[in-house]
């Protein structure tokens, strides 16, 4: 398959690989996808009281496009407000990496991962306030 230089660069030099402390109240964890489908993305966001994403880490089981999409997303959301990060559309990710049509689902997964991580963070906050 022909991939863009940007995609290959993100795959070969993935940014922000790793894990944050799941138990940290400031960390939201999103785990999306399924092993049987061939891709699983774990995205973790560290969000401060102002709602700013201070740090992002990912681990991904999946093809090169899935890894590149995850890596790209971590670089995009850092410094963003959660409300801004929630607005990221898969089409932006797909366009940035020039994903081939059969790989569009990788960008969908990355968008879902952001939403899942933020949802997890909010759930934790609510639980803490209750």
């Amino acid at each position: 398959m022909a991939y863009s230089d940007k995609l290959i660069n993100h795959y070969e030099n993935p940014q922000n690989v790793g894990s944050l402390d799941k138990a940290d109240p400031e960390v939201g964890t999103g785990l999306v996808g399924a092993p049987a489908c061939g891709d699983v993305m774990k995205l973790q966001l560290k969000i401060n009281d102002e709602g700013i994403i201070e740090d992002a880490r990912f681990k991904t089981f999946g093809c090169g496009s899935a890894i590149a999409s995850s890596s790209l997303v971590t670089t995009m959301v850092k410094g963003m407000h959660v409300e801004q990060a929630e607005q990221i559309k898969n089409s932006e990710i797909a366009a940035e990496l020039s994903l081939p049509p059969v790989k569009i689902h990788c960008s969908v997964l990355a968008e879902d991962a952001i939403k899942a991580a933020i949802a997890d963070y909010r759930k934790k906050r609510e639980a803490a306030q209750a």
Partner: protein, 301 residues
């Protein structure tokens, strides 16, 4: 082979598809039970292209002969890798292809038994009556000579034991990988297998991602991400390999010109890249934390 069977079904023929055992080998009792009085033909691949598993062709041939059924064997993958004797194995029809045996692309051959039983074929190309009317058309002499010469060299490799060198290197590759990496799974029987084939699942590492990381080595994957259908290999699924592992499979093919240095290079490169991808794999991390992946409610997408 499956596509040919589907075409026959469209023409009104009834086709029975037989399952294989988890090691990829056909159970002879399954075959015996499937043969019916009206069965015309049994068609079996001598060796599978993905997992290299070799079927018990001689036994299958004997069963077919006993039941008066014509036996077709697709030996395309196996030619030059294992000895084939159409008489000893009771093979009535045998297909081979030049490009899989270091011969020219664009030529193959079909062996057709002429007596006991005489196999009569309906031509698919008419006009001219060449090749006993079975395949009309002017013959490409250069292609035929190329295929013949390739067969001579293939036989030499078998007779001289050169093919065993490929087996030694293949075994070296497998041993080297196992020494350096955990959670590797071989797909298909290791005993009944072509000497040059290795098909391994590198658990928790997606096949296409691994292929991208080892671009100096030409391999193929049973991963859905390398196929247009987005479904993992049906061959692996037929063995009962779970989709999770089918997505992580890589097929290695060694050849006449593969060297020990190349095998050692492949072991080192794979070791490095599989470790790198596993460090990036949430599944590997979870397993190392003692989480049972089956206990998680995954959302299929």
């Amino acid at each position: 082979m499956l596509d040919s069977c589907h075409a026959l079904e469209r023409d009104g023929w009834e086709v029975t598809y037989l399952d294989v055992k988890p090691d990829g080998i056909l159970d002879l009792d399954t075959l015996r039970a499937a043969i019916r009085p009206e069965t015309t033909l049994v068609s079996v691949m001598l060796a599978n292209n993905e997992i290299g598993v070799i079927q018990p062709v001689a036994e299958i041939g004997a069963i077919c002969r006993e039941h008066g059924v014509i036996f077709h064997c697709d030996a395309v993958q196996a030619t030059g890798k294992v000895a084939i004797d159409v008489n000893a194995m009771n093979i009535d029809l045998l297909s081979i292809s030049g490009h899989k045996m270091y011969g020219p692309k664009g030529i193959g051959a079909l062996y057709v038994r002429r007596a006991r039983p005489r196999v009569r074929l309906q031509a698919i190309i008419d006009g001219g009556g060449h090749e006993r009317g079975m395949r009309s058309g002017t013959l490409p002499v250069h292609q035929i000579v190329g295929l013949g010469k390739a067969a001579v060299y293939a036989k030499e490799d078998l007779d001289s034991g050169k093919i065993d060198e490929q087996r030694r290197l293949r075994d070296r590759l497998w041993a080297g990988l196992q020494e350096n990496l955990d959670e590797l799974y071989i797909n298909g029987s290791m005993e009944q297998r072509l000497p040059n084939n290795l098909n391994v699942s590198f658990a928790y590492v997606e096949g296409e991602a691994l292929m991208m990381a080892i671009r100096d080595i030409a391999v193929s994957s049973g991963s859905a991400c390398t196929s247009a259908s987005l479904e993992p290999s049906y061959v692996l699924r037929a063995l009962g390999v779970e989709a999770e592992l089918a997505h992580t499979s890589i097929r290695f093919g060694l050849g006449r010109f593969t060297t020990e240095e190349e095998v050692d290079y492949a072991i080192a490169l794979l070791t490095e890249k599989v470790r790198w991808l596993r460090e990036m794999s949430p599944l590997y991390e979870m397993v190392k934390e003692g989480i049972d992946l089956k206990s998680i409610q995954w959302e299929a997408h």
